[in-house]
């Protein structure tokens, strides 16, 4: 079996475990390439269906093309789309001007916590990957969060032989990571193989493209001439710069991303 099929089969296995073991399940959809691949994998796992709601945490700072793409795909794929936000912070004018980490925490982390609480989800499926960052490398596939969504990376449950942690004390919330074992390159190769719709922003215009999509003020496009999926694959096979290099909030301090994640960020 080739590598992409092996990755796909493992992800399908994780999706089916999550769906069987977790009562109130939802999937986070950032509109980025990773979560589009996840949606695709869910449809593979459940034979064309996505049997749980899909949650988008809207910071109102997202790049407009992303929102347009979201609404189009939600209609086409008949998704049960739930849009969450931290309306309190937004009404108080929260933005990166108050500090990038403060903004990320308020609009993304708190926005996510709010929608989890409102909808009463036991677990949310998130499209993070181990190769993205040192902190994500340490993640489990089924990763418990404390009452306040915080992540205790020092004391994670053992996880082996695909026996995931599926029972928790009341109040625990769970993050499930079906593409944790994929790389950025795997994602693009799979997009190519399966012909998965992707936001145009990833493709080069005027010598620049987005490698990672986030909020408009904090996500910068990178120098690139790659304007097709094939060209992106070729570019990634050569590059040695990291994927999140265009994400300003990670660079506030040496351990900024780690602190964001320990507080409940994806």
């Amino acid at each position: 079996m080739d590598q992409l099929s092996a990755l796909e089969d493992q992800s399908i296995y994780i999706f089916r475990e999550a769906f069987n073991r977790i009562d109130k399940l939802a999937m986070l959809w950032s509109i980025g390439k990773d979560s589009n691949v996840m949606l695709w994998l869910a449809r593979k796992a459940f034979f064309g269906h996505v049997p749980f709601p899909v949650v988008h945490v809207d910071t109102k700072h997202k790049i407009p093309e992303m929102i347009e793409f979201r609404d189009r795909m939600a209609r086409e794929w008949k998704l049960d789309l739930i849009v969450g936000e931290n309306s309190e912070a937004l009404s108080e004018g929260m933005g990166p001007g108050r500090g990038r980490i403060t903004c990320c925490t308020a609009l993304k982390t708190e926005g996510l916590k709010a929608v989890i609480a409102q909808q009463g989800y036991t677990a949310v499926i998130a499209g993070i990957r181990r190769d993205e960052d040192g902190t994500r490398a340490k993640e489990r596939v089924f990763s418990p969060r404390g009452l306040n969504s915080e992540w205790d990376f020092r004391d994670q449950p053992p996880e082996f032989w695909d026996q995931f942690k599926t029972s928790f004390p009341p109040g625990t919330s769970l993050r499930i990571h079906p593409i944790l074992h994929w790389t950025e390159l795997d994602v693009w190769k799979y997009i190519k193989r399966e012909n998965i719709p992707t936001v145009d922003l990833y493709f080069s215009k005027n010598g620049k493209r987005y490698r990672s999509l986030g909020c408009a003020p904090c996500t910068a496009p990178a120098e690139s001439t790659a304007s097709t999926v094939d060209e992106i694959i070729a570019e990634l096979e050569r590059t040695k710069t990291s994927e999140r290099s265009g994400r300003a909030q990670d660079k506030v301090s040496e351990d900024a991303f780690e602190r964001l994640r320990a507080g409940g960020y994806m």
């Binding site: 080739d2 092996a6 089916r16 593979k44 034979f47 040192g134 449950p157 053992p158 795997d186 399966e194």
Partner: protein
Amino acid sequence: MNAMTPPRVTQRPLPIVIVGHVDHGKSTLVGRLLNDTGSLPEGKVEAVREMSRRRGMPFEWSFVMDALQAERDQGITIDTTQVRFETPTRPYVIIDAPGHKEFLKNMVTGAASADGALLLIDVTEGALEQSRRHAYLLHLLGVRQVAVVINKMDMCGFSEARYHEVTEGILGYLAEIGVTPSAVVPISARHGNNIVERCRHMDWYSGPTVVEALDAFHQPKSLTDRPLRLPVQDVYKLDERRIVAGRIESGHLKVGDTLVFLPGGRSAKIATIESWNEPEQRTRAVAGQSVGITLDQPIFVERGHIAAHPPKKPVETHTVRAHLFWLGHEPLRVGNAYTLKLATAEHDVTVQAIERVIDVEDLSGHTGDQVERNGVGEVVLHSRSAMVVDDFTEIARTGRAVLVDGYDVVGGCIIQQPHSDEMPARNLIASSHTVTPEERTWTNGHLGGILWFTGLSGSGKSTLAMALERELFRKGIQVYALDGDGVRQGLNFDLGFSPDDRSENIRRVAQVARLFAEAGMIVVTALISPTRADRAIARKIGGAFFHEIFIDADLEVCEGRDAKGLYKKARAGLIPEFTGISAPYEAPLTAELVLPAGREAVETCLADLASYVEAKLIRPARTGNRAQSA
């Protein structure tokens, strides 16, 4: 699509784990491997050098690996990280398993998914307890490709003699646990000697470098040519289809194959292999694939069942013997109950026996009644429900399981040569029962029996019977206490306390107890049963099941307790023929067990009872003795 792109075969990265003692230099080796194979992101080394300078610390290669603030603060790698590098031969994923003893669960988490391992040993220290523990776990987890790396050769002046000394020590140990390393590579991780580049200070060494040793590892053999095992994950009812979903753990299947689902053994043929967005309908699927199939018959199938091809079925059993590694905070003890998760099945199991606790230092085994955190042992587990298992060495995926205590995974089990419950003696048994006493014993994990308590009113019979019932129940034993007062309200409501009625009361209770015992249960009766003659009748009815247990407390003690106020009433003449006051009590002469309930605390008597039951009714069931029929 760009026609210029050459077709690429994406190679699966080989997952490897690096294990060894906490201070023997794993992170340095990993940092160096990444650097020397040109696999680090641009600017990473410079960034770490800059960080070290800011913190006023000398640069270490291990810092490259230490992505987390907490790690640097604590000075030890705390969790499994996965990092990738590539040699000209193939890509790798390194699972940097931490060495600190407390973090064995992370080491297991990492090593369980590795296809090859480097066992790292500091030449100045040799193989320490932790090195051995890790080597032992590698073996237990089924990681068969191991290369030993002797680090810090610069610290011993690249001494060939010292290298041989350390090598001999570890090779001896590995040979004993059945591991033959592919190489023993002397290196200096700090200086990059014998990692990619050969070291000019060690020209006496002609074996492979670390990278050459890794490149010599084999990709694991495909499991497709093994017998089929398809554990059922879920059953979906979608668009009129009933799809049985699961991942093929070994073997292969095709449309038209007859599958048998265990436990139970129902069978049906594969009608279709379902999929979504694939160019053509699948007709065949192989190990590793997550599939959905439909069947030609609407048979009952649920999560936890394992599908196989009929001639090569897994074993269906209630009892398994397993190698175990224990990660729980509380020790594993005999009698404790856990949830066993094997493939997609879950079973409530109790620890029936700890056969060996293994000292990983010298590999000696000793008996014990508990396995401590981070310890290993051999245990016998008993399940109420039928487990479907394979021998780990035959089909690893269905020959291993985890134990869950409460919410947490607390251990891993490697199943050894499981045997089916079905006993050959089955056909020789009288036709009235299709279930034999032997089968009941196997299923229950203990013999049936009657524990016939006798003693004065107030001696503690009921208290002890109920406490024993709870204690045995906790151990997963089929137990029921028949209380004298309770029986008199139902079964024997028509009987009074005349000598004849008392005899009849005892006869009936003995008959009921006999039925319980034949049904495989341990029944505890708590009746005064004052006369030797009546107890002799009970013994005759109970036959080999019967155990007379004297709850010995003298009249003075019992009357002093008088919890039910009966002695007071009897003294006042309100209760006729009250044993001890107005009717005789004949202490037994032939009791199997005498409990000094008048002198000793309930807990002491309970412990005596529990060990008696263990010796007479539980242990014999495990050593092959059969339930005797009288």
